[in-house]
């Protein structure tokens, strides 16, 4: 490459793509190249300098609109679009409908594809695991293997392809006996599970949930939370890279989102919206190690988790506000100790009666 440059004029440099990119957006690679080139061809230094100058002169004024003008332009635009839409459909909408709703037909699915290299490290979890978790045999129902956990129990199992699944309380996973012999590896999940999927490009790993959300991966570590009674389906990525595709019933892709490590995609069932946020992925899957981690978690969700974790029923008075948040890290604690924690943080009073826990006190009130 240096060969052609050694006969370049200043004009030639100023028109060369690689040179232009170096002047405008220098990076390590181009910097190294051009610095060495200048050293090796000191006769070219002047031409290069001249070309640099020309490129930097060609710096256009940004006739940017100021923010408030832009906002009003944008608002006018949004209004016009709304009017257009209303012309198109005689039915008026009460609120500005979010576009995805139009795209998704009744049984639309999200397909989450993993691009990029899988990071299954067998050393990662096996040694770190205190195998306190129950490890029963799976039940065979017809030609389906099934494993389920009641409340208060968590377990780990290995799938025929070597993938590892941590199953949380009140969760069920099933897959066919032919699991390893088909060109997709399908599992059906109800509840919450953490997956460490073995990389296999020729057989995508697919997690099916009850709410038309399908998660397709090649090999990675991620957490899926899809409880029937929850308002959301949540997917958290620990390692790898995931591409989320919205797919209509006819198989057409109509939306695309990339999930990176330490991001969580939350699908709100009721409103059909998808939310992506940065999270601490290991916090969210800490339950595998018998940690309960609450990070600004609303008390409502804290109680739901405690119910599943300890197999209890929590009773609070109706209309109790449970939106305030709790941040805590609880490791292998008894229920009593967790409730004592809440005594301190939220001034609760509690009564335990077998599997029923009655909670009152300050909670979220001031």
């Amino acid at each position: 490459m240096a060969k052609k440059y050694s006969s370049f004029s200043a004009q030639d440099f100023a028109e060369d793509s690689f040179f232009i990119r170096w002047v405008k957006h220098p990076d390590e690679e181009s910097d190294w190249f051009w610095q060495s080139f200048i050293r090796e061809h000191p006769d070219k230094a002047d031409d290069i300098r001249a070309a640099q100058e020309i490129i930097s002169i060609l710096n256009f004024k940004k006739h940017s609109i100021d923010d408030s003008s832009y906002e009003s332009m944008r608002n006018r635009f949004l209004l016009s679009i709304r009017e257009e839409k209303e012309k198109e459909q005689p039915v008026t909408h009460n609120r500005f409908t979010l576009g995805w709703k139009q795209i998704l037909k009744v049984a639309a699915v999200f397909v989450i594809l993993v691009a990029g290299v899988a990071l299954y490290r067998s050393s990662d979890t096996v040694s770190a695991e205190p195998e306190q978790l129950a490890n029963e045999e799976s039940i065979q129902v017809g030609d389906t293997e099934e494993r389920s956990n009641p409340r208060g129990q968590r377990s780990v199992l290995m799938l025929p392809d070597g993938s590892k699944v941590w199953l949380n309380s009140e969760s069920k996973i099933s897959y066919t006996k032919e699991f390893n012999r088909r060109n997709t590896r399908d599992v059906y999940l109800e509840g919450e599970a953490f997956f460490n999927v073995v990389h296999n490009e020729s057989a995508p790993f697919i997690v099916h949930t009850a709410s038309s959300i399908r998660i397709e991966v090649l090999g990675t570590s991620f957490n899926v939370k899809s409880y029937r009674n929850d308002q959301t389906v949540e997917t958290t990525l620990v390692n790898g890279k995931v591409s989320i595709d919205k797919v209509e019933k006819d198989g057409q892709s109509s939306g695309n989102l990339i999930l990176r490590p330490n991001q969580r995609a939350v699908y709100f069932k009721e409103t059909n919206t998808l939310n992506v946020e940065s999270v601490n992925a290991s916090n969210l899957s800490a339950w595998r190690h018998d940690h309960l981690v609450f990070d600004e978690t609303p008390l409502r969700d804290v109680f739901t988790q405690l119910e599943r974790w300890y197999d209890i029923r929590i009773h609070v008075s109706e209309n109790e506000d449970l939106e305030c948040r709790l941040t805590a890290n609880v490791q292998q604690e008894s229920l009593e100790n967790v409730l004592k924690l809440l005594e301190t943080s939220h001034q609760i009073e509690y009564t335990i009666s077998d599997k029923d826990v009655f909670i009152r006190g300050r909670l979220c009130n001031n």
Partner: protein
């Protein structure tokens, strides 16, 4: 590969929406692939259209102002462009560069506006062309430049024709390929090369004419 070096910062959200007592957060779509965005928009997803607006409206305005000069006219044109896009969405072909398509469409639109004004006012198009601002007004000249150098630079930049200026903007500012420049400016690729070449040699030529004054 540990967690990627990019994307460590918090994802910003586009907006939150209250539905009853639930706050729904809409994801920030900055990483949506263009081909997918375009398809979604064609399919009737107005959210995709808004994403396109947010992504390109400012650059379009900036470009429009350089070739047409009147800010208000360009503002309206940019808005109309997106609305017309929405109205015609079913008839549009697939594209793998939305930016290219938008730039090209805006240019055509501004040209049509200019032409109708010329027809209306019984002017020649060429009379409308550079009538407003001299070329150097569109460029940023570094503050530390001496008065003498400033004047020299202004002279150089003024020597550029409107078309040369536009081509230079598309190449050096918007960093478009020659193919795209040719498409937007409705000329052959060879013409685009020639135009840029002429512009640069214009700038070089004037530079070389000046006596070297080493301070």
């Amino acid at each position: 590969m540990s967690s990627s070096t990019q994307h460590q910062k918090e994802l910003t959200v586009e907006r939150t929406q209250q539905i009853g007592d639930k706050t729904s957060v809409i994801f920030h779509p900055s990483h949506i692939d263009e081909a997918v965005l375009w398809k979604a928009f064609k399919g009737g997803d107005e959210k995709a259209l808004i994403v396109m607006f947010d992504r390109f409206a400012k650059a379009l305005y900036n470009y429009g102002v350089k070739i047409h000069h009147e800010g208000e006219v360009v503002k309206d044109a940019v808005q109309e462009l997106f609305i017309e896009l929405w109205k015609n969405k079913e008839n549009l072909a697939d594209t793998d560069s939305i930016k290219f398509y938008l730039f090209k469409s805006l240019r055509r639109k501004l040209f049509r506006i200019k032409k109708s004004k010329a027809d209306h006012d019984f002017l020649q198009l060429s009379e409308l062309d550079d009538s407003v601002a001299p070329s150097h007004e569109f460029f940023v000249i570094a503050e530390q430049t001496s008065l003498e150098k400033r004047q020299r630079l202004m002279k150089m930049l003024d020597s550029l024709t409107a078309r040369q200026r536009e081509a230079v903007l598309l190449r050096y500012f918007e960093e478009m390929s020659y193919d795209k420049i040719a498409g937007i400016m409705e000329m052959s690729k060879q013409s685009a090369y020639n135009l840029i070449h002429k512009a640069i040699s214009q700038l070089r030529g004037l530079e070389e004419d000046e006596p070297c004054q080493k301070i």
